[in-house]
Structures are given as structure tokens and as C-alpha cells.
Amino acid sequence: MFDRDAWLEIFHTVLSNPLRTGLTGLSIALGIFILVVMQGLGAGLESGVKNTFGDNASNTIQVRTGNAQLAYRGRKPNRRVDLHNADERALQDQLDTVPAWSRLVFRWGSTVQYGNQQGSYNVRGVDPDQREIGQVALTAGRFLSPLDIDAERKVAVIGATLLQDLYPKGTPPDAAVGTFVQLRGIQFAVVGTFDQAGSRWENRSVYVPFTTAQKLFQNSDVVGRVSIGTGDAAIEETRETSATLLGWLKDRLVVHPDDAEGVWVDNRNEEAEIFRQIFSGIRLFVWFVGMMTLLAGAMGVANIMAIVVRERTKEIGVRKALGATSGRIVGQIVQEAVFLMLISGCVGLLAGTWLLQGISPMVEHDFFSNPRVNFESALGALGVLIFVGVVSAIGPAVRAVTIRPVEALRDE
């Protein structure tokens, strides 16, 4: 199968009719090209959407309060509901074990100054677990520590956009660690920097200790939000936890059980599940369309191989008369089809990858970023090609087997 002569035979036959070979190759290359490009665009859409909505890891439950709409137990409607430190501690007691837990106070549009440069950014007071919950990608220094929380230290972890905007051009992340910035007029030491690739919103943020932020920027013991990491708990389990927490919070904060807006418990697992379903649907669709295109290409190859066999009936007869067994002939035809498929498939694969890489920098968008071909789907496509190649050659090869060497003796 892999000797030099078999390959020479293939090159001979493939090259002896360049137009036919070219057209067949084109249909396959196009099929793979479409598959790869669509797959890449799907991946781009997925990562774009994830960047936009993904300011927190998907395995979290978010707890926050809002405006109660209904009168309940003597409270008037349309009132503000707040979660205080005491409520937050009691909430924590409701759960046995929690993989990650972070409080949040949030101040957007906060002035941050370094040297003479200043700008408006988002300040987030958080707990150390926020690193895991928000999947913060540190580029230098460290994240907030429990000690920072306890001692209410004035330390900050700044996003890549601040580094870019406020610091001299080309300052490496390491150089920013140890400097001081003014947050709303108060001096903070920079202990770390982070860069959430592709997320402009995240990178405009500054993390400071929750306790510090609550004291300096809020002047009350209200907790803006609680993020609860659910680890690798199953979705049903997180659903149950969310429902329990919601019921408990409504009772504690005196919110009517039917009130939809007083207390919010968002199970991000739920959203992630929906996204997962949407994207697996898109992936399935992409593969389906790609496979159909490939199938059309494969039919083209089968057709061409059928013509090849028909055209070469006499030659196959002669080869048989000269001692070729049917096995050798079938092997040659199958090998030829697979070879054709693989070469043109690789061309399509390369063209698709090249196109995706070419357009990638130009199409950054909130819902679209970093379109790419992953290695597994490329391998999968090649596997499909080989399979389709063999299948498309079987029909013509069987025809070739039925050609009797007598054909060689027949003169037109």
C-alpha cells in the first residue's frame, strides 16, 4: 500500500487528467473550507459571547437585593431592600460548605489617578475568593489576601486598561506593582495587575479589599452583592441551593414570597447551561452543514472515480491480463480517492485557517472575538475525509472488480 510504485501509479493517473482532478479536488477543498470557516466563526461567536457575559465564572450563584414591589408584613410597596453585613453572615451560615464566597461593593465611574494621569474606572471591593469566582488572570504581583481584608488595607489590583492609560507607554505589569494610585482621592498601593483577555469591561476595573471599600467609599454596612462559588456541583443541586437561599432571604429581609424584584438570586449555572445548549446547537448545526457539503463533495469524487473506472475499463482489463489481482486494482482506486481527498482537504483546511487568521484582527466585536480552528475539529475533519474517501471509492472499485480481463481483448 505504501510502496513507491503505488504512489507513482497514483501520481500518473491523478496528473494525467489535471482538469478532472482539479475540479474534484476543488469540491472537496470547498467542503472542508466551509466546514472550517463556519466552525471557526462559531467558535468566535462563542468566545465573544463568553467574554461579554463572562465577568464571573459560570459556576456561581449571585445574590443581590433590589426594590420590593409588593406590600408585605406591614412594609409598604416599592421600597429599597438592603443586605447588611449581619444578613450576609447569617446567609453564610445557611450553607454547609461553600467552595468560594465573595462580597462585593461596586463603585463605577470612580476617578483613579497615577501621577498626572487620571481617568474614570470601576472600583470593586471584593474578598480574596473573587479571584476564583471572577477567574482573574493576574499578570504581575498578587491578588487580595485575607490579611488585606482583616486589616482593611489600602491595596489595589488594577486592570490592563488602567496600566495602559495611566502609566507611561510600555510600562510592564511588574513595574506597576509597588506604585501608588489615588482612588477617589485616597492613596492605594498597587499589589497586582491583571488582564482579562478580550474583555474591555473587566480590564477597566480595580479590585480593592471589600472591608476597605465598604468603609471608605460606601459609609454603610450594606453589601452590594454576594457571589457564591458552586464548585463542580451538579446543576440540579445548585438549583436547589438557589431556591433555598431565595426563600430564606425573602423571609429574613421581609419580602413577599411572590415579589420578583426585592431579592435576586441568579444561578449562573442556569445561564451557562442555556449558553452551553445554544452553542452545542450551533456546533451541531455547523457540523451538519459542513458534513452535508462534504457529502456533496464526496459524491463528486464518487462520480469522478466512476468515470475514471469506466474510462479505464480497458486499462484495468489489460492490467488484469498482465497479472493484477482485483485486490490490487481496488487498492489502487481506493488509495487514489483517499489521496485526492486528503490533498484537497488539506488545501481547504489551510485556506480556511488562513482566512480565519486573516480576518481575526478585523472583526473584534462584543459578540465576536478570536475565531479559530481547534486542533480536534481539524483532526476530525481529516478523519471524516479519509472515511468519505474510502466510501466514495467503494462503488467504483466494485465496478472495477467486475471488469473481466476479456475486456482487454475486445477491440472497438
Binding site: T13, A321, G323, T325, P405, A408, D411
Partner: protein, 253 residues
């Protein structure tokens, strides 16, 4: 029907005995070979019991009008087609009921073919065409090409080894085909109208080449309808309506 169809049977057996005495070993031995083709609901008997023996080193012509069964006989001899009844011994081995694979093996070991329309592969050079049977015998490439070159020299076409068939004349093509038939060192060469597509001068050249090969000891069976060709052979077998009509020794031998 058998009696009516083959009323020359006694005559032929006499001849067979005579030739059996002259040549020690029969390389081809046919006994009662029958072959019929199914055309729709009807079955048409093309060979109606052929008995004949061809000895090693013989140069035999098979003649007959079209429809006499001579092509079918050649197909049977060449293991290109099976037969319904009778026995066929090639080089002492029974050839009945062969699988396709076995037939392919015997063809490549025992037989060489020369066709009327040459049947060279158009996109292969003369050298590659000659080497092709050895490819199917699994002979290494280098050895194959050296051997093919020797055989091209033998048929006087060493200078044409790298030419494609369509760059050659009919006579040259047939000589390439003969070299191809010879390369696997066959016992028998079966030639189907080898001069059918050639003019008389070239026909003569090709016939001289076949005779020379025969003188080296290779048995040759030529199917032809040209008397000038047939008369150069040792023996002429005449077919008519699927039976051997007569056999005669050529005066030229």
C-alpha cells in the same frame, strides 16, 4: 448434436497423436472444452467440445471466420474466461475451477499476451509498460527496469525506452507489447491478431520477431485470419462453428 457439430473428430485425433509423438511434452492440453454464453433466455454454445494439444516450443496458428469461437478459445487458453465443461491442463496443471486470484497468478506466471490493438498504457513510457507485469509479481523497481531495458533492446527499441506509446509507430508499439509479454518469462505467448492493425511490411517484421522468440523455445499461439501469417506457423488449427474443423502442418516448416 455433438456428432453433427464435430464430425471431424477422428481426423483430428489422428493428428493429435502424430504431434504427440513429435513433441515430447504438451504445454497446453484441452479435452472436451465447452463454453456457452447466456444471451437473454437463450444459451448459445460457442465452443462445442474442443480437444487439442499444443506442445512445448510449438508455433501454432488458430484460424477461423468471425463467430467460429476462436476468440473465446483464446480467452479460455489465456485464463481470461472460464469454461463450462472439459479439462484444461496448462504446463501439466489443471486449470478448471480457478478463483480469480489463482487465474491472475497463473496468467502472470505462465502466460504472455499480445493484443491486436497493442493495449499499452498511454501515460506510461515504453520501459514502464514493459516492466508492468513484473510490478504485479512484486519484483523490485530497479531490477524491473533493468530487465525491461534488456527486453526493449531485444526487440530493438532501446532508444525508445522513454517514449510514450503515442509517439511510436504501430510496429514499434507491437514490439513493445511483445517485450512486455516476454518479460515475465512465460511458457506460452498468446497473440490475438498481432498483425491485425499493421501494414504488410511491419506485419512481416513482427512475425519475424515472434518466430525468433519461438526459436528460443517459447510456445506461441497466434489467432489470425491472415493466411500469410498462419502459413509461417508450424501448425494451423481451423475452427468452424465452435469445433475444430481441421488441423494441418504448414508446408513452410
Amino acid at each position: 448434436m455433438l456428432e453433427i457439430g464435430c464430425f471431424h473428430r477422428n481426423y483430428r485425433i489422428l493428428h493429435a497423436a502424430e504431434y504427440g509423438a513429435r513433441y515430447l511434452r504438451a504445454v497446453i492440453k484441452l479435452q472436451g472444452i465447452r463454453k456457452s454464453y447466456q444471451t437473454g433466455a437463450q444459451s448459445m454454445e460457442v465452443l462445442k467440445g474442443i480437444d487439442c494439444s499444443i506442445a512445448a516450443g510449438e508455433l501454432v496458428a488458430i484460424m477461423g471466420s468471425s463467430g467460429s469461437g476462436k476468440s473465446t478459445l483464446l480467452n479460455v487458453l489465456g485464463l481470461l474466461d472460464d469454461f463450462d465443461a472439459g479439462t484444461y491442463h496448462l504446463d501439466g496443471q489443471d486449470m478448471s475451477g480457478l478463483s480469480e486470484k489463482q487465474a491472475a497468478r497463473y496468467r502472470s506466471e505462465f502466460l504472455g499476451f499480445v493484443f491486436q490493438s497493442f493495449n499499452l498504457i498511454g501515460y506510461k513510457t515504453a520501459l514502464e509498460n514493459v516492466a508492468l507485469p513484473l510490478y504485479y509479481q512484486g519484483v523490485p523497481r530497479k531490477e524491473r527496469q533493468e530487465k525491461a531495458m534488456r527486453f526493449l533492446e531485444k526487440v530493438g527499441l532501446a532508444d525508445w525506452s522513454n517514449h510514450l506509446p503515442n509517439q511510436m509507430s504501430g510496429g514499434q508499439k507491437q514490439r513493445v507489447a511483445i517485450a512486455r509479454a516476454l518479460i515475465a518469462n512465460p511458457r506460452v505467448i498468446l497473440a490475438d491478431e498481432p498483425t491485425g492493425a499493421l501494414d504488410s511490411t511491419t506485419s512481416e517484421d513482427v512475425m519475424e520477431l515472434l518466430k525468433e522468440i519461438n526459436r528460443e523455445g517459447i510456445t506461441i499461439v497466434v489467432v489470425t485470419h491472415e493466411h500469410e501469417i498462419a502459413e509461417q506457423c508450424h501448425r494451423i488449427i481451423r475452427l468452424k462453428d465452435g469445433c475444430i474443423e481441421d488441423q494441418m502442418k504448414s508446408q513452410h516448416v
